[in-house]
C-alpha cells in the first residue's frame, strides 16, 4: 500500500512537471516581503496589484545586458545580478487601471545586502523610495525620510544627466545634490545610488521601453 501511495505521488509530481502554465521563472531577484502593506501605504487609492516576473535574458539577452551595463556605467555581478535572475515588478491598480509601478533590486553594501525599492508613477518618476533591507550600522540614517525623500520626483533621465555632468557643478544636477546621510558609511551611500539607478534602468527595460515612455527621456538625458 505504501509503495502504491508513493508511486501515486510520483505520478502527481510528474504531472506537475508537464502542467500548463504561462511561463517558467528562475529565482526572483528581489520581491516584496509584504506588497499589500507597501502598496497600500504608497498608493492609498489603489485597489490591487498585478505581479510581473521577467529577466534580462527574457527581454533582450546579451544585447540588453550590454545596454544596461552601459547606462549603469558598471558591470553587473555575474552571481547576484546575472542575466537569468528574475525580477518582480508590481503594476499598481485602481480598479482595472494602472496608476503606478513598484520594483525592487538587490544591491551589495559594505556590510551585507540591501534591497532598494522604488515606486514610480506611470511616467517613471519616483514617488517613493525605501529600503526593504539595509545591512548598515547607520541604517537609521539611510531609512530616514530626510534622505529617501530626496529621490522623490527623480527619473532615469536625471541619473543619466548626472553622468553627463560629472566633473562640473551644474545646478540642474539633481542627483549630484543628494547628500550622504551617514557619517562613516559612504560605501553604502554609493551602493544606494547604484541601486536606485539600476532599479530605474531595469524598470525602463521591462516596462517603459515597450511603451516608448521613459526611454524617450533617456534619449533626451543622453543628449544633454
Amino acid at each position: 500500500m505504501i509503495a502504491k501511495t508513493t508511486a501515486g505521488i510520483s505520478v502527481i509530481l510528474l504531472a506537475l512537471l508537464f502542467s500548463p502554465g504561462a511561463r517558467l521563472h528562475a529565482a526572483v531577484g528581489c520581491s516584496l516581503n509584504d506588497p499589500d502593506r507597501d502598496i497600500k501605504r504608497i498608493f492609498p487609492s489603489s485597489t490591487g496589484y498585478r505581479s510581473q516576473f521577467t529577466s534580462i535574458a527574457e527581454r533582450g539577452g546579451q544585447p540588453l545586458l550590454a545596454q544596461i551595463e552601459a547606462k549603469l556605467g558598471d558591470k553587473l555581478n555575474p552571481e547576484y545580478e546575472s542575466i537569468d535572475v528574475e525580477y518582480a515588478y508590481y503594476v499598481v491598480l485602481k480598479g482595472k487601471d494602472a496608476i503606478g509601478y513598484v520594483h525592487g533590486v538587490n544591491e551589495k553594501g559594505t556590510f551585507g545586502g540591501m534591497q532598494v525599492i522604488l515606486a514610480t508613477d506611470l511616467n517613471g518618476k519616483i514617488v517613493n523610495m525605501y529600503y526593504q533591507k539595509v545591512s548598515s550600522p547607520e541604517s537609521r540614517s539611510f531609512r530616514d525620510k530626510a534622505f529617501t525623500d530626496q529621490f522623490v520626483g527623480l527619473s532615469l533621465s536625471d541619473f543619466l544627466h548626472h553622468d553627463a555632468m560629472k566633473g562640473s557643478t551644474d545646478p540642474a544636477d539633481k542627483v549630484g545634490a543628494i547628500k550622504d546621510p551617514s557619517k562613516k558609511s559612504n560605501g553604502d551611500f554609493l551602493a544606494s545610488l547604484r541601486g536606485v539607478k539600476k532599479n530605474l534602468i531595469l524598470l525602463d527595460a521591462f516596462v517603459f521601453s515597450a511603451k516608448g515612455g521613459e526611454s524617450n527621456q533617456i534619449q533626451e538625458g543622453e543628449k544633454q
Binding site: M1, I2, T5, T6, G8, I9, S10, I12, L13, A15, L16, L17, S19, P20, G21, A22, R23, L24, H25, A26, A27, V28, N33, D34, D36, R37, D38, I39, K40, S46, T47, G48, Y49, R50, S51, F53, E79, Y80, S82, V85, V91, L93, G95, K96, K108, T110, F111, G112, G113, Y130, Y131, Q132, K133, V134, S135, S136, P137, S139, R140, R143
Partner: protein, 358 residues
C-alpha cells in the same frame, strides 16, 4: 520564507472518526494540484524548482548520522503559481515536497514522502488574505524565517511538535502591525486527527521590512506527537494521545550592520505541566566575503518547570557558504545536554544544499 494563505481549497479538509482515510489524503493533495496547476483559462505565472539536500554527520553517542533534526538526504521540488485578472493578483499556490531517505533505517523503511508547503492563498483585498493547506502555525519566528533547507531551526519543533500543519488561516493589517490567525489539525506533516486534536494560533507583530521586528503569539490546542517525519507513509503516533497545549510567546529580530539577531521565548502548559523555552541566534555576514555567514545559536527547553532535571540545552555553531545562487554548503557543530539522564552529546553535520529552477 514564503508566506502562505489561500482560496477555498482548504475547505476540502474533512474529518473522519479517527482521522483521514487514504483516499481523502490523496484527494486533498490532488485537489491542490488541480486547482493550482490546471486552469488554462486563467492568466497565470508559475515557477518550478528542483532541490537536492545531502547531509551527513557524526555523533559522540550514535556515531554516523544520516539526518539532522530537520534535514534528511532528499530529492525535492517546489511548484509556485500565481493567478491574476484585470483587477490584479487574486490567488497564489505553492506545493513543496521531498522524497527523503534515512540511511540509518533499514532500506525498506528508510523512504518517506514529506509534504512541506501545500497551500493556496486567496486575496480578499489589499492586506486581507485567506489561506488553506499545509503551512506554518501563526506562532513565533517560524512563519517569518526560512528554515526549509537550513540546519539551524527555530523553537517550533520543540514547542509545538512540528513546523507546519494542515488547516486554514487568515491574515490582515492592524494599524502599524500585521496579524495572522490559524486553525489547524494539530497533526503536523501527516494528515490525521485523533483524540479531538486541533490547533488554534495567533500572532501580531511589526511589518517584515523593519530593522527591528517583534511579535506576540498565542496558542491553544491538542496536538499529536508523531514518531517520525513524513506525510506518506503516515508516521506512528506516540502513546498517550493528544497533548493539550497552551502557550504565550514573544519573538524578535534585529538587523544591525552585518549582524542579524533572532530570539524567541515561550511559556505555557503541556496538559498540567508548566513548560518554557528560549532561543537566541546571531548570524554574521563576513563583509569582505558576503557569501560566507557565521552562525551561533543557543536554545533551551524545559518540559516541566515544577521538576528538576527536565531541561534540555542545545548550543550550536555553524558556517554557511553560498557558492552561487543555487548551491550552498553548510557545516554545524553542536553540543546538547539532557539534564534528566545526564546525557551530553556532541554532533557535527555537513550539508550540500542545491535549489534551482528546472
Amino acid at each position: 520564507m514564503t508566506i502562505e494563505r489561500e482560496a477555498d481549497c482548504g475547505t476540502g479538509i474533512i474529518y473522519r472518526n479517527g482521522g483521514f482515510n487514504r483516499a481523502s489524503k490523496t484527494g486533498l493533495i490532488a485537489f491542490f494540484i488541480t486547482l493550482c496547476a490546471a486552469s488554462p483559462a486563467l492568466p497565470a505565472d508559475y515557477a518550478l524548482y528542483k532541490e537536492v539536500d545531502l547531509i551527513g554527520g557524526y555523533s559522540s553517542s550514535e556515531h554516523w548520522l544520516g539526518n539532522s533534526m530537520s534535514q534528511m538526504n532528499s530529492l525535492g521540488m517546489e511548484y509556485f503559481q500565481r493567478f491574476s485578472n484585470d483587477y490584479g493578483d487574486y490567488l497564489t499556490c505553492d506545493f513543496q515536497a521531498r522524497v527523503a531517505y534515512d540511511s540509518v533505517e533499514p532500506f525498506g523503511d528508510a523512504w518517506a514522502v514529506e509534504v512541506h508547503n501545500a497551500w493556496a492563498e486567496y486575496n480578499l483585498g489589499l492586506g486581507k488574505k485567506l489561506i488553506a493547506g499545509h503551512f506554518a502555525p501563526a506562532f513565533g519566528l517560524e512563519p517569518l524565517v526560512d528554515t526549509h533547507g537550513t540546519l539551524l531551526q527555530t523553537l517550533a519543533s520543540m514547542n509545538i511538535g512540528f513546523k507546519d500543519d494542515w488547516g486554514v488561516g487568515f491574515s490582515d493589517t492592524l494599524g502599524g502591525y500585521d496579524y495572522r490567525l490559524a486553525a489547524q489539525l494539530g497533526s503536523g506533516m501527516s494528515i490525521q486527527r485523533r483524540d479531538s486534536s486541533g490547533l488554534l494560533t495567533a500572532r501580531i507583530g511589526t511589518p517584515a521590512a523593519e530593522d527591528f521586528q517583534y511579535g506576540l503569539s498565542l496558542l491553544y490546542g491538542k496536538t499529536l506527537e508523531a514518531m517520525g517525519m513524513g506525510t506518506f507513509p503516515r508516521p506512528e503516533l506516540a502513546q498517550g494521545g493528544a497533548v493539550l497545549k497552551k502557550r504565550v510567546g514573544l519573538d524578535a529580530q534585529y538587523l544591525f550592520g552585518s549582524y542579524l539577531f533572532k530570539g524567541e521565548g515561550v511559556y505555557g502548559e503541556n496538559d498540567s505541566a508548566q513548560v518554557a523555552g528560549a532561543l537566541v541566534e546571531v548570524d554574521y555576514t563576513v563583509p569582505d566575503l558576503q557569501e560566507l555567514k557565521m552562525l551561533l545559536q543557543g536554545s533551551s527547553w524545559d518540559d516541566d518547570l515544577s521538576k528538576r532535571n527536565t531541561e534540555s540545552i542545545l548550543l550550536s555553531a555553524g558556517l554557511e557558504y553560498q557558492v552561487n545562487k543555487d548551491l550552498a554548503l553548510r557545516a554545524l557543530c553542536s553540543t546538547s545536554t539532557l539534564s534528566n539522564n545526564d546525557l551530553q552529546e556532541e554532533q557535527v553535520f555537513l550539508q550540500v544544499y542545491y535549489f534551482a529552477p528546472f
